[in-house]
């Protein structure tokens, strides 16, 4: 994967010139190398998490238990979520930040390069910890991975097997890695901008990431605290969540979702930051409403930490709390609507062309809109009493996190891949990948809305007969969705290997410092900083 550095004719093809081969990647402090490692890791874990959920969907193809026992099913769904959130989506966003933020703000590298290297190399051990109990169980050690679902709810997680401990430690390590990455990004944005680049000239992608980084710093330690309490409850005789000792299991839900709700915006803000760049490029117009979007990011960031209890409306909260959390949650739709209007207004009267990144961006707007609207339904306390813990919720958050998160990341990958590799990817394969993804995604998740409305609960390996048809459709969709991602991997791989040469300004409508550099950019870029007028 080191084409990026060899192709530019740098004096030493191995970058900093200290090491070659594996040692080069282990020791690199170059933001582009680290970005590449993050993105590669993310892609691998995307397939790991995807394989798990394909097994789940295969089991759900028909009523009854065909392929696996419920215990194993429970392990798959929980680890699928943790892998996709912490090991696929978050590293992809951090990879984008590493690669693009220094290029976009005219900085020679990230502010804290060694921390950057360390932050990445914490990820593989964490991923191994997360998945290892599956393999240990094969050898008769332990009873498999975390089987509580990704939310670790007490008291189930207090009673669970050693998979819970593995997951707790993995979350600790992943959390430390994310905190280090966030500190690095904040310091880079605050201290390393090119002269003349004021905060209100900062590219929106950097703004989105800035808010994400602050949210991570404010909420990940709360998750770390919650799982630490869980660990001491399990092994050291404390009773934070154990009612017998005066604890309270509902407290765990408060702590978990104090992190868990902002986490949604942590995953989405980098994508929201990226969208205006892509939309402006392919509409050949300046971004509409830059200032409005910045304030919308900030407003969503602030609101996101005061709405957490909408995840457990049915846990027996008092009515005043229910009403508060309902209205504060619904209030988030206002700044979010501002973003939607800005995206649409950026396209309005533009000369649009639909290259693969633009297709993904437009698909993102439509599908993420469905996520937002169904979220409003779930935010309604009265409606939520029916939909809570049903497949309606599953469909809703996959519209948010697959169509919003992962398709957003794909938008970024196609948009920046020629910049990273110096080669154009195959537009034909890219478009095929888009259409397969968007059709099979809807085939998978649209039926789940109806399953939820009809009362099918989530997190169960078996179901009543009346749900059979929609589940079969959903499984067929999931299989197409899963396997068409191989096209994505293949397209990236062949683009890294070669292809038509990409210009410095890959897309002729693209604006910004990152497009002033050659494609791929030299191993050391902006060593003299550009001056922004």
């Amino acid at each position: 994967m080191n084409t990026a550095t060899t192709a530019n004719g740098h004096a030493n093809p191995h970058g900093d010139g200290h090491y070659s081969g594996l040692m080069r990647w282990l020791t690199t402090t170059n933001h582009k190398d680290i970005g590449t490692m993050y993105l590669t890791f993310s892609l691998i874990m995307f397939f790991v998490g995807g394989a798990m959920i394909l097994a789940v969907r295969a089991e759900l193809f028909a009523p009854g238990l065909q392929l696996m026992q419920p215990e194993f099913f429970n392990q798959l769904i929980g680890i699928h979520a943790l892998v996709m959130i912490f090991a696929a989506l978050m590293p992809a966003a951090t990879g984008f930040a590493n690669w693009m933020i220094p290029l976009m703000i005219g900085a020679p590298d990230m502010a804290l390069p060694r921390l950057n290297n360390w932050g990445f190399w914490l990820l593989p051990p964490a991923a191994i910890l997360l998945t290892m109990p599956f393999f240990l169980a094969l050898f008769g050690i332990g009873d498999g991975a975390l089987a509580t679902g990704w939310t670790f709810y007490a008291p189930l997680s207090v009673q669970g097997g050693m998979g819970v401990d593995f997951a707790i430690l993995a979350v600790h390590i992943l959390g430390i890695s994310s905190i280090m990455g966030s500190i690095n990004i904040i310091v880079t944005i605050f201290n390393m901008r090119a002269p003349g680049m004021t905060m209100m000239k900062l590219p929106l992608f950097a703004w989105g990431w800035l808010i994400t980084a602050f949210l991570l710093l404010a909420t990940l330690p709360v998750l770390a605290g919650a799982v630490t309490m869980l660990l001491t409850d399990r092994h050291f005789g404390t009773h934070f969540f154990d009612a017998a000792g005066g604890g309270d299991p509902i407290l765990f839900q408060h702590l978990f979702w104090f992190f868990g709700h902002p986490e949604v915006y942590i995953l989405l803000l980098p994508v929201w930051g990226l969208m205006p760049h892509v939309l402006a490029t392919f509409s050949r117009k300046p971004t509409y409403g830059y200032t409005a979007q910045v304030y919308a990011f900030i407003a969503i960031g602030l609101l996101s930490v005061v709405v957490w209890a909408h995840h457990f409306f049915t846990a027996g909260l008092p009515v005043p709390a229910l009403i508060y959390f309902m209205f504060s949650t619904m209030a988030i739709s206002i700044p979010l609507a501002v973003l939607f209007f800005c995206w649409i207004a950026t396209m309005w009267k533009g000369s649009m062309s639909f290259e693969t990144p633009m297709l993904f961006a437009v698909g993102f707007i439509v599908l993420f809109g469905i996520a937002g609207l169904t979220g409003l339904i779930l935010a309604d306390v009265a409606a939520d009493a029916q939909y809570h813990h049903s497949y309606f919720v599953v469909a809703h958050f996959h519209y948010a996190l697959f169509a919003g998160g992962i398709m957003g990341v794909m938008t970024g990958v196609y948009y920046w891949l020629p910049k990273w590799t110096g080669h154009m990817y195959s537009e034909k394969l890219g478009k095929l990948h888009f259409w397969l993804t968007v059709i099979s995604f809807n085939l998978t998740f649209m039926p789940q809305f109806f399953l939820g409305l009809a009362g099918m609960p989530r997190r169960i390996p078996d179901y009543a007969l009346q749900f059979a048809e929609f589940n079969a459709i959903s499984t067929v969709g999931a299989m197409i969705l899963g396997f068409s991602q191989l096209l994505f991997a293949w397209n990236i791989w062949s683009c890294v290997r070669g292809g038509p040469k990409a210009e410095a300004r890959v897309w002729e409508g693209a604006e910004g410092l990152e497009w002033e550099l050659s494609s791929p950019p030299p191993h050391h870029s902006w060593e003299t900083q550009p001056v922004i007028k």
Partner: protein
């Protein structure tokens, strides 16, 4: 494009501030534990019952419940239930499934609890009141849940409970459910079960 040499900057001050934010958030998570308990006790969120009379005992409770406080204009049905948690070989049931009470009226009932094992065991009952809005108006004056209970092998005991539903309870509330979960406290440290007694 005009270009200049970057100005070297010291990042440590900003890094320290950000680390303080992280440390603050971590401490906040642990601070939420006592905050949450205080909030639940003050508001009755989560069915945590009022401990108002617990300190003074039965007499103090009666003194605070003069007959004039009794609201004979309405009746509230109080339902009783109880669960023995896994790991405790006991059985429990309320002697009456429900009572119709006037708000402000002192009432008493008992639970029958039996140790089915052939060894003495100590347990602790943890109460919960539904709906949560009623919890702060449900005043237990005497309760077996204030103390740990020890039963000899095969022993059965009637464990008493005296309570008042305060007249301040909302008029919308017509039913209140009081539920106990009985836990084994074998092998648990005394200090921790003391926190359970406190409520």
């Amino acid at each position: 494009m005009e270009q200049v040499q970057p100005v070297p900057r010291n990042h440590s001050r900003l890094v320290i501030k950000l680390l303080l934010l992280v440390a603050g958030a971590f401490v906040f998570a642990f601070a939420l534990v006592p905050l949450y308990n205080v909030l639940c006790e003050v508001t009755g969120f989560n069915g945590k019952t009022s401990a108002g009379f617990a300190a003074g005992g039965l007499k103090a409770g009666l003194a605070q419940a003069p007959a004039s406080r009794v609201d004979t204009g309405r009746l509230i049905r109080v339902e009783f239930t109880g669960t023995v948690m896994p790991g405790l070989p006991w059985e429990m049931r309320p002697l009456k499934v429900s009572l119709d009470v006037h708000p402000g009226e002192l009432q008493q009932i008992s639970y029958l609890v039996r140790n089915t094992a052939d060894r003495p065991i100590t347990g602790q009952a943890v109460p919960s009141v539904t709906p949560g809005q009623a919890a702060q108006h449900f005043e237990k004056i005497e309760c077996f849940c204030f103390d740990q209970q020890t039963l000899a092998p095969g022993e059965a005991q009637e464990m008493p409970l005296a309570f008042i539903v305060s007249p301040e309870v909302d008029r919308d509330i017509t039913h209140i459910t009081l539920s106990y979960a009985f836990f084994s406290i074998e092998g648990q440290r005394q200090t921790l079960s003391a926190t359970a007694e406190a409520r």
